[in-house]
């Protein structure tokens, strides 16, 4: 997978991971991939909700040692 941009949202609580994700995506072009790393355990549900509402596709979600990784495809 060709990641175009990476966002480190580790240590941030709700709603900062979502706000930073939104901000980062707005500087990107359609079709580009953004990888977000977060430690907020509410993030998996919130990131999915963000994707549902905005249409930026969440193409991958994974968890390892308390760190969550999300890959968004910009709408």
């Amino acid at each position: 997978m060709n990641i175009d941009k990476e966002l480190d949202a580790r240590g941030l609580s709700c709603p900062l991971p979502i706000l930073r994700t939104k901000k980062t995506l707005s500087d990107m072009s359609s079709g580009e991939l953004l990888k977000v790393i977060a430690t907020d355990s509410g993030a998996p549900k919130d990131m999915q909700a963000f994707s549902n509402q905005t249409g930026h596709e969440l193409i991958e979600t994974s968890e390892m040692n308390g760190e969550y990784t999300f890959v968004f495809k910009k709408k």
């Binding site: 941030l12 609580s13 709700c14 979502i18 706000l19 963000f50 509402q53 905005t54």
Partner: protein, 154 residues
């Protein structure tokens, strides 16, 4: 476009968070958002937010490091101490500050409306409040809230 209308009527640190968190998040999710600040909520639009405090008094649900009887909580300085401890905890846990969330709301195009009646009632000056906000009354709120998908009173 979905819309969200919020009334923010409280001016304590704990009750200041929900309107700013929901407004900034809704804006990030593509909602058009307006927040109407009335009565004590108007404190949240002041340039200086250092008056926004938390009080453990009358709030038995507030987690305390040590149990504290109400009679102790009335001692002068307890409110400032509780506020300091709460702000410290928020920072340590990676929660944004109120100033930060408010800035992000403005940046995201959230419309913040100050209740003109409250402004007059408490003798606040427009100069005390931050720039870039609007002023209005109940009808202004209802004009927007009537077409909103989400409408909340905080």
């Amino acid at each position: 476009m979905k819309k969200m209308a919020i009334i923010a009527s409280k001016g304590t640190l704990d009750m200041a968070y929900p309107p700013f968190i929901l407004a900034s998040t809704a804006a990030a999710l593509g909602f058009e958002v307006k927040v109407f600040f009335t009565f004590y909520g108007l404190q949240l639009l002041k340039k200086d937010l250092s008056d926004v405090k938390i009080s453990p008094l009358g709030n038995p649900a507030m987690p305390m490091p040590v149990p504290m009887p109400s009679l102790v909580q009335v001692i002068p300085g307890m409110e400032s101490m509780a506020t300091m401890m709460m702000k410290d905890k928020l920072k340590k846990k990676g929660v944004a500050s109120l100033e930060e969330l408010r800035d992000m709301c403005l940046e995201a195009g959230v419309i913040l409306i100050a209740c003109q009646m409250t402004l007059d009632l408490f003798d606040f000056k427009r100069d005390d409040l931050i720039e870039g906000i609007e002023y209005g009354g109940a009808a202004t709120y209802l004009d927007f809230a009537g077409d909103s998908n989400v409408s909340l009173f905080v």
